[in-house]
Symmetry: D3
Subunit: 149 residues, 6 copies
């Protein structure tokens, strides 16, 4: 390929996907009243929901041959299998085994997404590729980032 | 006031608000299988959810004295009482009495919001003010508009 | 179904899709210089491109049984076949037969999309469904709407 | 040109521009207290400001030769001269002669922009071109549309 | 709580709020002409304004009990008292004591917001919570970030 | 100037610009079939295009006198000369000399933009100013960041 890639270049590639899910912020170890005090209307009994926007960022050295960090078609397939199939059109409290004992806050969700993707990407990682960042936008105003720290 | 308002001017004023709700597309008069065929993953048993974005448009003649069509603080109070209190952080199938016998599609939700607001605004309407349009954006890609037709 | 749909309700349902295409504004009946005067840098020889955002709006009476105007999965399939397959990752001047003798302005593109979808939807139209509006956003600043007039 | 434009086609072309301005909602014929009751913090003495987003829509028959409704470069020049030069980086109450006797609400601003552009476009209008709509977004939540009615 | 939070997890939580303010870029130690040369139309005498969008990011270890980094209701109350009350619907040059001797550029504003919030959050900080980043978007095109360096 | 700038403050200032370009992902050292396998429809013969959104971030100490990190008018002039003139309304494969031997992926484009701007800003850099980050959003879903590593 060309002069631009003669020296190794580390880039960060981001991909956004959306999933629509219901959740309820409720800690079963606490009373209804305690949950109401901590979570307010987010603890309403029948749950509510969000259009969760997930931004996944991977980092590594650009491939000299393809000019890609990683084939986005392959990343999309991974996100489809690992994220959409798990979370989209689901109730986080009831339908996601990994969240059964959790309060499914955006913080917890971002950590779970990181753990899932970090393990998945590590297994295919034969180059300098690594998961860099997971951001979940719960609404247009609120977001949580997790970088594996 | 000034020359610009000497002749009556009809304007359309829009206000956007968001509410976060869960729903399930499921017709109880039909079997699980029939619902799955019509609604796909939107009929998943435990429901899912959205950040619903509602855009309400009212129309009428600008008031010569205030330069307003309608006091937005008053409109916000109405939207808070009629929309946020009813729908925000609720499960549309379980928590909204008007939707008990419905499949809460975005179409049905837009019609319900229109009916609620049209009645509410008619009662305070001592001028040429009227509800013009209700738009609900279920996601960034899908929207339903209802104009009372 | 429920009381809300006892009387016929006319709604407008919109769906947004994106396609990425190249084009060149160039009228082969004119000289290079004339094209440059009319189209400026949009007539640059090798073309340029856009993330075209298409918003399609259909209108009609909500179905009492499903609560839908029209099954969005079916609409998506139509848009996939008629729009994405024709325009996505294409050069409008070279790859789209319907545009061979045209200058592919956004105006012309919106009209073509209308003609394609209007014919396609008319054939499946066994209810009060009709195409209402086609909007193409060429950039975040420019848009063209066509309503079949 | 081509078959698509053999019959006259009426399109609506929109252009968005932004201007940053200060204003104060204050009616000099009223007391400070009355203004505070009507306009709340929008009547604060030293004013506040907005990134006003203006969307101008013109309509007419697409030109068979160019494929344009109207040359956007020419529209941009008009908007630069008539809108940006008048309103951008200005204080609406102090710097805009047409608003001297007004309360510069978004309603009034949309009407003024219409009046300015409608006169300007009428004079160059040798075809079926006309101003269709002016929308001003004061914030991401509030907008006013004026259609010359 | 659950396995996901058995080890400490450092997350970054962001919240966006908007305030509408006027300002004038003008250094009183300089002449009108010098200010015009440095600040251009931003130094226009009567000021102009913006919809300032503020994004505040805090970081720390997720609380095992609540699943939160920090209660967003509490963060909102802080932002309401410290930011909205100070800046919203104000003229930055005239109404904000901390900016009296400053040119209220976006850079200076971001630093001031940091200083205010860093002190406020330090006082309530009984855990690993800290202010990470302040971003102010002056328009959709311009932004300034400050991280306390 | 004022107390806020008495100690040195390092800020990050971002500017977004858009350019509209065509490209084709195609490696001339490979066969058509190999290119199709790697790049899919992105390797379609006549190319396609995007509204590329570029976000450039510079960092350094705020100037005590102006309250600016760097004069945005000057940054805009640089971006106009170095980026818009090179890439806007161009075909990346044919019209950009630096990309002649490349596959113009977003990764490669971000690196090229960095190299161009880093050299340009280094030459005018008489203060602590430096290029911090280049982000290119190819679509609303995909982005590449490069930080010179």
């Amino acid at each position: 390929m060309n002069d631009l890639l003669k020296k190794p270049r580390k880039v960060y590639v981001s991909r956004k996907i959306e999933f629509n899910a219901a959740h309820r912020l409720f800690n079963p170890l606490r009373t209804e009243q305690e949950n109401l005090e901590v979570y307010g209307k987010c603890s309403n009994k029948n749950g509510h929901g969000h259009n969760y926007l997930l931004e996944v960022t991977i980092s590594g050295i650009v491939d000299c041959d393809t000019g890609f960090l990683f084939d986005l078609k392959e990343l999309n397939t991974i996100l489809e299998h690992e994220i959409i199939a798990r979370f989209d059109h689901r109730h986080l409290n009831h339908d996601v085994p990994e969240l059964q004992e959790c309060v499914p806050t955006t913080e917890v969700l971002a950590i779970l997404v990181w753990d899932i993707l970090e393990e998945r990407l590590r297994n295919i990682n034969n180059r300098e590729l690594s998961l860099h960042e997971v951001i979940i936008y719960e609404t247009g105003k609120n977001a949580v980032r997790y970088l594996g720290e």
